[in-house]
């Protein structure tokens, strides 16, 4: 108990916001971020009010003497790392066992978890795209085409990852690559229709995380974040359709169909 009183409010606030930031940048729902921040505050006897959106966390806490501390944290880039969300969730469920410094240390360790290596991603996207051919009832040649298209998408996203481009452009080009490789196989007579392998590789770009988070945020009552996520889903869906459509149209006009 003595140890608890030594911890000042602004350090608790910073720790809570750090935990929230990990979840938000790894692709967690916004209501979960607000929940986690409030629970960490509650554990250290600080009443925290929090407002989070997809790009910003605003936190303000009030101590026993009615002194107010607040913090604004900007989120510039988001990725998908569901393992980090799982680890933070596990930590918060057992928050009673941790002291302040232990909690800080384990959160920093979670933040350091690196994503899978490029090789793993490469194999996963190639296999994922190729496996979809089976559910669209394609043959072994379609399987090969989707496999190559999946490799293409993985390579492109690896090359582009350092440049910090907007997601609309990245999805547009990725969609174009899927359609281009499939149509190349079709023009050379290896597959009988470009559709199956194009759809299979386009599945790699489907905004599954944004779709489910948008629904879960809306159910939890967070309409602002829910609708902006839904907008993201529409935008990514539009981008991959336009990218694939452009290339398919070019092949229609100049590919000798």
């Amino acid at each position: 108990m003595q140890n608890k009183q030594l911890i000042t409010e602004h350090r608790v606030l910073q720790l809570a916001t750090f935990a929230g930031k990990i979840v938000l940048t790894s692709g967690g729902e916004v209501y979960r971020v607000e929940d986690i921040i409030a629970r960490i505050g509650q554990h250290f006897n600080l009443k925290i009010d929090c407002f989070a959106t997809l790009t910003c966390i605003i936190v303000s806490g009030k101590n026993i003497d009615d002194e107010v501390v607040s913090l604004v944290e900007r989120i510039s880039s988001r990725s998908t790392n569901l393992d980090k969300i799982h680890q933070v969730h596990k930590l918060i469920n057992e928050i009673e066992k941790y002291s302040f410094s232990e909690l800080k240390k384990s959160l920093e360790n979670i933040n350091k978890i690196s994503p899978y290596s490029f090789g793993m991603n490469f194999i996963a996207s190639a296999l994922g795209a190729a496996s979809f051919v089976v559910s669209f009832k394609g043959g072994p040649n379609d399987f090969a085409a989707a496999f190559v298209a999946g490799c293409g998408v993985a390579l492109f996203s690896y090359i582009i990852s350092g440049l910090q481009l907007n997601s609309f452009f990245i999805n547009l080009i990725s969609g174009a690559i899927c359609a281009f490789i499939s149509n190349l196989f079709y023009v050379n007579g290896i597959i009988t229709t470009p559709s199956i392998s194009t759809i299979s590789s386009l599945m790699l770009l489907v905004p599954g995380v944004a779709f489910i988070n948008s629904i879960r945020d809306i159910i939890a009552g967070d309409l602002v974040s829910g609708t902006s996520r839904a907008m993201e889903v529409l935008m990514i869906g539009g981008a991959i359709a336009i990218g694939a459509g452009l290339v398919t149209k070019l092949f229609f006009n100049f590919g000798g169909f």
Binding site: E29, L82, H86, K90, Y116, V206, G208, G237, F252
Partner: protein, 142 residues
């Protein structure tokens, strides 16, 4: 063919779980969820239900599975659910909407676009039903 498709749905889900950076045994549980989703989708399609009903029921069953397993493994529901629903994602609908559009078949394109949004809507409804059910369940248990 039926079981081959289910097995490949398992592989699809595992690949996507790796792309979303899920780690450890959760990958396998997520893969089982994907296999369940595709199995029930095929079963309901075989029974002759309309496509929106198929998607709604299969999504609801997958969400139910994810809620139960997530509770047992002390993890978050999306960790399992996101990858498990990928086999049913309406990527084909988006593609055909675009394909008919560039072939100047506007009526077919609008039909496909409508179908795609109905699929997305029924999947959303399936998740909403199950999540709300579990929320009520946890509230009454307390």
């Amino acid at each position: 063919m039926f079981f081959i498709e289910v097995i490949f749905a398992f592989f699809i889900t595992i690949s996507f779980a790796i792309l979303f950076n899920v780690r450890g045994k959760l990958i396998i549980y997520s893969g089982i969820g994907g296999a369940i989703s595709w199995l029930f989708y095929l079963l309901f399609t075989k029974e002759g239900y309309s496509y929106s009903t198929c998607y709604l029921l299969a999504t609801a069953i997958t969400a139910f599975y994810s809620e139960i397993v997530a509770k047992r493994l002390q993890t978050t529901v999306p960790t399992l659910l996101i990858a498990a629903l990928i086999p049913m994602a309406p990527g084909g609908g988006v593609y055909y909407t675009m394909l008919y559009l560039i072939q100047n078949k506007y009526q077919d394109s609008i039909l496909k676009g409508m179908e795609t949004s109905i699929i997305a809507g029924s999947m959303a409804l399936g998740i909403i039903l199950v999540t709300t059910f579990f929320r009520i369940f946890h509230l009454t248990k307390r």
